[in-house]
Symmetry: C2
Subunit: 347 residues, 2 copies
DNA sequence: TTGTATGCGTTATCAG
DNA sequence: CTGATAACGCATACAA
């Protein structure tokens, strides 16, 4: 519990000088700097964060709100951000909106009340207007959410390119009838992925069949539901691009239930590369979503702007195809025959 | 940014009285209490946490160190604890030891430096002595780690009973040759689970065969490795109890590779019931580990002791068998024939 | 380059 | 039941 005064006394200097040393001010002679350092070491001095905050109007802590902590998705993110901040002697306060707008908004207010110096937002339900006006109150940094006017504070994924590449891969493997299970229409990233899918089709001179596109929730249940719908519509396809890995899991469940074999009867490419993707059977070929890296980059940007006055800049991350075993090469000539449609009959 | 003085002025009282109201002291007349409340509402007053901490020697925040954030395990835990603290207007600081002792210890010191009022520990690599001496510095609450002398500050799982029940279930389903993949020997919970397995065998009058027990890491790779070892040892069994779900996933991977069908050739019961267990194929029958509930209970206990002076008490949680599709009923008479041993030959 | 003095917003002690 | 006032530990003008 040594205080700055104790250190000052021990070092034979004034408290102000100690403060200058701990804050790394240049205007301290090496000699006194050494003396102070020695005193700090001897006393095991650690500045009191509350006192610093009170006096400096700066808490040295960033807030982070995550839309939901429950998914398999956010552990690595928190880990990356926390580690990054610790290195710079800054602190992290986490709050979670439990998958809904109100809790997200409340979390934001909570963190502001705690006077965080900035906010890293991995939210999913905040309107663009809300975010724009929020950004007038304090520096905010967005991960994976496009907001007009806040582009420069944004770390995003190239969802379009990712889905395009996923689809293109399926085409390269000989598939011609390719379906797409997209996320809900109000999600921009879900839209971008569906558009990427369409683009790949167009690039390959393939027709876009609305019957081969289902929009649903980004969850396992959504995937199952989409497959049921395809089935009822009599959709016929050998390849499938899913909006995310979780919905791919739903597809897996549906296939297991219906006796559809992956990848023999149906080839699937997922999106996200969540932890469990490599453990399903067969291991899921998917587009890797570097969320942890993005979060890390985001914290870097935040730190640089808030504490060093560095300029912020938009960053776009790319996906990467992770080859596993859920896609089969097929001879293009046989695409007309589709196991799936047969199965569908008895749903 | 209204301060306590602004509120005091607005309400026509002294700052001290405002403080008394915010802290819920009884000795304030209802009339002035109302006046103050009105003023606070009008100004949108929120006490400054740093100033409170500085003045009261209490940060109103609990620290939590989690051994590793990366697993699929901790999201719900953080979510539960954070929510619980928020309700009581307390704050949560999270730090993670990245799966190793040093980072865990450093995280603990970091949180202490930040002057947290108490520590919730979900660590895995701290020695009993370290924890005992730590508990002399500040109140600590342990989740799932037995420490002699700190029993009352402990929220634990009945690992022994859980593994016993898992094994018993396999026995009930007709299995007689049952193997066990346990966690590393230095982990007390891993030991307890292996002991539970043995107990079930003894209870059923079945022999304990050392060849049917492999100890390995609590990871998917560990499960694969264990299966390879069983295979090389020529072990023969129809049922398997795994130390945790992650190693069960490794077993799944090994089986897929080797053409061993679950549950036809091998019945498996996992432990933990992680999120992805229900999505593997076949869905994994496992023992549910109520970690989130335990963490919530732990935060409750911590809150009650630290801020209300309530006594602490040890709590033991039980597992619950979650029936899915990885276990087959077999006719006891045919246990001698085991698909696994045949497969093993060509490993 | 260093020291002095003041204030940050709150709680706590002591009077009244 | 309420008010004045002195800390709490630090950062920061301002002076030297």
């Amino acid at each position: 519990m040594a205080s700055i005064k104790d250190v000052a006394k021990q070092a034979g200097v004034s408290p102000a000088t100690v403060s200058r040393v701990t804050n790394g001010y240049a205007s301290v002679s090496q000699a006194t700097r050494d003396k102070v350092q020695a005193a700090m070491d001897a006393l095991g001095y650690v500045p009191d964060a509350s006192a610093q905050a009170l006096s400096s109007k700066r808490t040295n802590t960033l807030g982070m709100v995550v839309s939901q902590l429950d998914g398999p998705f956010y552990g690595p993110v928190l880990s990356a951000v926390a580690g990054n901040l610790r290195k710079r002697k800054k602190h992290l306060l986490i709050a979670c909106g439990h998958g809904n707008r109100r809790d997200e908004a409340e979390s934001i207010e909570y963190l502001i009340d705690r006077k965080v110096d900035g906010l890293i937002l991995l939210t999913e339900h905040q309107s663009s207007e809300a975010l724009v006006s929020l950004s007038e109150r304090l520096p905010i940094y967005l991960i994976n959410q496009e907001v007009e006017g806040l582009e420069h504070r944004n770390i995003v994924l190239d969802n379009f390119g990712g889905a395009r590449d996923a689809t293109r891969y399926l085409i390269e493997q000989g598939h011609r009838k390719i379906a797409c299970i997209g996320g809900q229409d109000f999600k921009l990233d879900a839209d971008a992925r569906v558009e990427g899918y369409k683009q790949a089709l167009r690039d390959a001179g393939l027709a876009i069949d609305p019957k081969l596109i289902q929009r649903t929730r980004f969850e396992a249940a959504g995937g199952q539901e989409a497959m049921r719908n395809f089935s009822m519509d009599g959709a016929c396809f050998s390849g499938l691009v899913t909006g995310n890995d979780e919905s791919a899991l739903g597809v897996y469940a549906w296939c297991a239930e219906q006796g559809v074999s992956i990848p023999k009867d149906l080839s699937i490419v997922g999106f996200d590369d969540i932890f469990m993707s490599r453990f399903v059977n067969p291991p899921l070929t998917t587009m890797h979503f570097p969320l942890a890296e993005m979060a890390k980059a985001c914290s870097e940007v935040a730190l640089n702007e808030i504490y060093d006055g560095a300029p912020v800049a938009r960053q776009v991350f790319s996906t990467r195809l992770v080859l596993r075993d859920s896609v089969a090469y097929i001879d293009s000539t046989q695409t007309e025959i589709n196991q799936l449609t047969e199965t569908k009959a008895n749903v």
